[in-house]
């Protein structure tokens, strides 16, 4: 009897020990999981996410005399200033047209850039996707190289093409089309050319990814039903690769609207854009609250673009 009870208690103890061990192991895996995630997560949370909250706080304070902010009274001035400016003499508020123009220019320029990149990128991606695998790899490689090379160097190369003594003006003058060099630098044309040049690979790559999966039996069926090439393009190819079109457009639109390098190098003071305006508020105007509010405004615009994208993606999944 004693022996049996012993084995029973032993078994119970064993069982209990096993449970404890299992629980320990489980909590250990949870611990290791977070321990292994923590370096990446902490780095990004502390140095990537926390600064965004700091500028949120700064956007609600008064600017300091030389830079920085005056702590810690909350004033909505910077946010109101995004849309209205105070009249110098009276306290009346007037719409802040200077900012409206910059916002509108940034949005239009980003849209135009996206359209241009789509116009060039779509046929290119389709052309690549319909080549032999060997040629396809080569062309993809050629599209990816600019994507990996320094943006500033590419911007400099555009300056060499567009400037007064640049290659484009030289060619046009040699051909006798113009006799005075065209002022191309520091114009909207230069910026939109630069932006679409810089972000073209972002359009071609996702477009290619969705075209690669295109089922050409459907297109053959279209032709069997007497569709013209244009009808096949409009009614079959474009709807089928829509995910690629949307993804590519988002990937071009977002960096284009917040761009800093190209807009500051190819555009002058008269063609200010969102990115250069933000930087100017911090480095030149030394109005940190205003710059912070502008940054968060830009982030809101990008978030709206991403939300539209997410909505489109969800809508597609449902249909």
């Amino acid at each position: 009897m004693a022996a049996t009870s012993d084995t029973v208690t032993d078994a119970l103890a064993d069982n209990g020990r096993a449970q404890v061990a299992a629980r320990k192991a489980a909590s250990r895996t949870v611990w290791t999981r977070w321990l292994m995630l923590s370096p990446a997560l902490i780095t990004i949370l502390v140095c990537g996410l926390a600064p965004l909250f700091i500028i949120l706080a700064y956007s609600l304070m008064k600017p300091g005399d030389y830079a920085g902010v005056i702590c810690c009274k909350i004033v909505p001035d910077a946010w109101i200033n995004l849309f209205f400016e105070q009249d110098m003499f009276s306290d009346a508020m007037a719409p802040n047209y200077a900012y409206y123009i910059i916002f509108a220019r940034s949005i239009l320029m980003a849209l135009f850039t996206t359209a241009l990149a789509l116009g060039v990128g779509f046929p290119t991606a389709y052309f690549i996707a319909t080549r032999s695998p060997k040629l396809r790899n080569l062309m993809l490689f050629l599209i990816t190289i600019p994507f990996w090379t320094n943006l500033l160097i590419r911007t400099y190369s555009i300056i060499m093409v567009l400037q007064d003594q640049g290659v484009l003006n030289k060619i046009l003058m040699k051909l006798g089309i113009i006799d005075q060099p065209l002022q191309l630098m520091y114009t909207n044309i230069a910026i939109s050319y630069g932006l679409s040049y810089a972000y073209l690979p972002y359009m071609v790559l996702p477009l290619y990814a969705s075209m690669e999966k295109l089922d050409f039996r459907l297109i053959e069926a279209g032709y069997d039903l007497y569709a013209t090439r244009f009808q096949v393009l409009r009614r079959l190819i474009i709807p089928l690769v829509k995910p690629g079109i949307v993804a590519g457009s988002i990937l071009v639109f977002i960096p284009a609207i917040g761009d800093y390098v190209i807009t500051t190098q190819l555009g002058g003071g008269t063609t200010m854009m969102f990115g250069s305006l933000i930087s100017q508020q911090f480095l030149t105007a030394r109005n940190w609250p205003q710059g912070s509010a502008l940054s968060l405004g830009l982030m809101a615009l990008v978030m709206i673009a991403l939300l539209i994208y997410a909505k489109k993606a969800v809508g597609r999944a449902e249909s």
Binding site: L142, L200, Y260
Partner: protein, 281 residues
């Protein structure tokens, strides 16, 4: 554009007679060539003028190699290049280590509730416009600088690590997800400890992913302008910062020579990247 409209009427009969090409869309080849030309013409111009034997870069006088020698021996360029390399090397190695650990958890552990949050945090640096990250980091580090009274290149390195992590994470995750789990399971069946499974099986198999992560983050760090402009302290000049300083002065072909060398290095890296990642597929 007139070619596009004219093409079908001219070529349709001859094309349709032998075999109808389902995949063809008229004029697309022309746009594709235009696209490649658009991407490469400016770079070709830049490289060509690096060989210009004239102090004024845009006025061609003759062929010379001398600007490359001048660029290599320029102490300002050398210092900038060394700083760029140093920052990129440290940032890419640390980012790759962090990303490897994160990728192992997100691909080798049963999906847990906060997984989407983890993804969102890792991708956060990619979702925010770069200029916003740049000024937010600048403000944050300015604050720490006055608090601790410590100035140094560490701030620049840390800011680079942050945006390198998502770039390092992408190829690692892709590699780990594509990997066959059979070997890892077999090793575990043979009583290998998790650490041993990782060291003997997982790690060797994920080497291409690690190389890809290192190179991607290295290139991204080397190329960064926006964040570096705002975060770098006085006297900290990377290659892109040197270039930005030169752009609006009357530049000599020295800048072109330096840019050409930079381009060459990038192309070399991409080629290696392609070879390394393709071989295993």
């Amino acid at each position: 554009m007139t070619d596009i409209a004219a093409a079908p009427t001219i070529s349709a009969p001859s094309r349709r007679a032998p075999r109808f090409d389902v995949k063809r869309q008229s004029g697309f080849w022309l746009v594709a060539i235009f696209c490649l030309a658009m991407l490469y013409t400016p770079m070709a111009v830049l490289v060509t003028y690096a060989f210009n034997d004239n102090n004024f870069v845009m006025i061609w006088k003759g062929f010379t190699w001398r600007w490359f020698g001048i660029a290599i021996n320029d102490p300002e360029i050398r210092d900038a290049a060394l700083l760029s390399l140093k920052v990129a090397a440290i940032a890419s190695v640390i980012a790759t280590i962090f990303a490897t650990m994160a990728a192992l958890v997100t691909t080798r552990v049963k999906p847990f509730r906060s997984m989407p949050l983890v993804y969102a945090i890792i991708n956060q640096p990619l979702m925010v416009p770069e200029i916003v990250t740049a000024i937010a980091t600048m403000v944050f580090f300015a604050w720490i600088r006055t608090m601790t009274d410590y100035y140094g290149v560490v701030y620049l390195v840390v800011s680079h690590i942050v945006f390198c992590i998502p770039f390092a994470y992408m190829p690692l995750r892709a590699r780990l997800e594509d990997m066959d789990l059979t070997y890892e399971n077999a090793a575990a069946d043979l009583y290998a400890t998790p650490w041993r499974v990782f060291r003997r099986i997982t790690l060797p198999l994920m080497v291409p992913g690690i190389i890809g992560a290192l190179m991607l983050s290295f290139v991204v760090s080397m190329d960064d302008v926006v964040i570096t402009v705002h975060v770098s302290g006085p006297g900290e000049q990377t290659l892109p910062l040197y270039l930005i300083g030169q752009l609006h002065r009357g530049v000599t072909p020295e800048v072109n020579a330096m840019s050409t060398l930079f381009l060459l290095a990038s192309v070399l890296l991409v080629t290696i990247f392609f070879i390394v990642t393709r071989k295993k597929n």
